[in-house]
Symmetry: C2
Subunit: 207 residues, 2 copies
Amino acid sequence: MTHRKAPGSSRRSEASRRAIYAAAVALVGETGYAKTTIEGIAARAGVGKQTIYRWWPSKAAVLLDAFLDLVEQAADRAAEPGIPDTGDLEADLKLVLRATVDELNDPAYDAPARALAAESVVDARLAAGFVSRLLEPQLQLYVKRLTAARETGQIRAGIDPRIALELLVGPLAHRWLLRTLPLTHDYANAVVDCALYGLAPRGAPRA
Amino acid sequence: MTHRKAPGSSRRSEASRRAIYAAAVALVGETGYAKTTIEGIAARAGVGKQTIYRWWPSKAAVLLDAFLDLVEQAADRAAEPGIPDTGDLEADLKLVLRATVDELNDPAYDAPARALAAESVVDARLAAGFVSRLLEPQLQLYVKRLTAARETGQIRAGIDPRIALELLVGPLAHRWLLRTLPLTHDYANAVVDCALYGLAPRGAPRA
DNA sequence: TCGGTAAGACGAAACGTCTCGGTTCGGCGG
DNA sequence: CCGCCGAACCGAGACGTTTCGTCTTACCGA
């Protein structure tokens, strides 16, 4: 997704690449994605425009790489990959979803993440990279934890972990993306409750 | 959302307004939202640029009004408002969600709806109009049906209809917006099953 | 020497504003 | 009731500005 060609990358300037990442994230945070221009990124990074056009096909692609670099560094610092498994699925899910809420409400991540999501909605090519490189690795953590839960009988055997995960994450994403209602800890907890125990009365016959 | 001011609208040209709607929807469908320009819409509609700039604050606002007009006309033709209530909640929800899937997969609606959603992700001002005028009325139909279901004991008394609705719609929106996986009838059915009967084993104690 | 780089010139395209006549509608005097 | 007038809208498009993406030039480093 960086570019179709990867020319003699041995001569590529690492310093310029990093300066471009920093400038892109900073400008999107300060002035918003729409007002961020490639010319602006180049100027801020002290870099020729051609250096950007040579390596990336679009403004969104630059920001995707920049944002990915950002979250990878943050992930290295945290060094806590995966979803905890205390044996209590409900508590584990609530914990993680509340953390996700906090992340989505963090202004530092909100602006670039929104921009990438919005661009992905409209640009299928970018969406493929956004999903496969940023979103899907996160979702696979849910698949892993939910599969484990299924093996210990904490969720029903007939449940597809993929669909279970989307039942949890979908509502969060919906509120975040379209701003229908505020995204809170209470909401995350309520979603987990509803998803785990269902809307129908517990005594109702399984269809 | 048409504009902060509503000047003497008696003198406003209805023909121009409709021509602008038609041109906007057509151009977005043909060339995509990003390549659609206000100049292009004006030219296609046979209208002066100022006529657009006078009544709408942005390209997105034009498309919102145009799309809203489109779905209202379609709704008038269908003349079947609301979610059916046959007494079988599961069947009713599956029916409606499958219909939603078909709508989201319809190329005629996909392009403008995507453009508006994407713009709303990034522009809170537009999002307010998008949600209140287009999305929320749809969601209220779910609230109504789910509230009825709660009164007849088809869903648990402790469930907030608002959250129940998002449990159903959120996953659909998630797949549609980010294109993580294809949006199918089977998926709609599976979401309803999971949401109604929960992920946890039916015998599990209610938390 | 060869290819990446910084800097910036360049034409094309769209922006949003403004001006120009022409048209249409509401109001007022006859 | 009729006819005029002015205000507001209309289509058309000129205008200066901004950003785009390409291209040119000179430099530098492996």
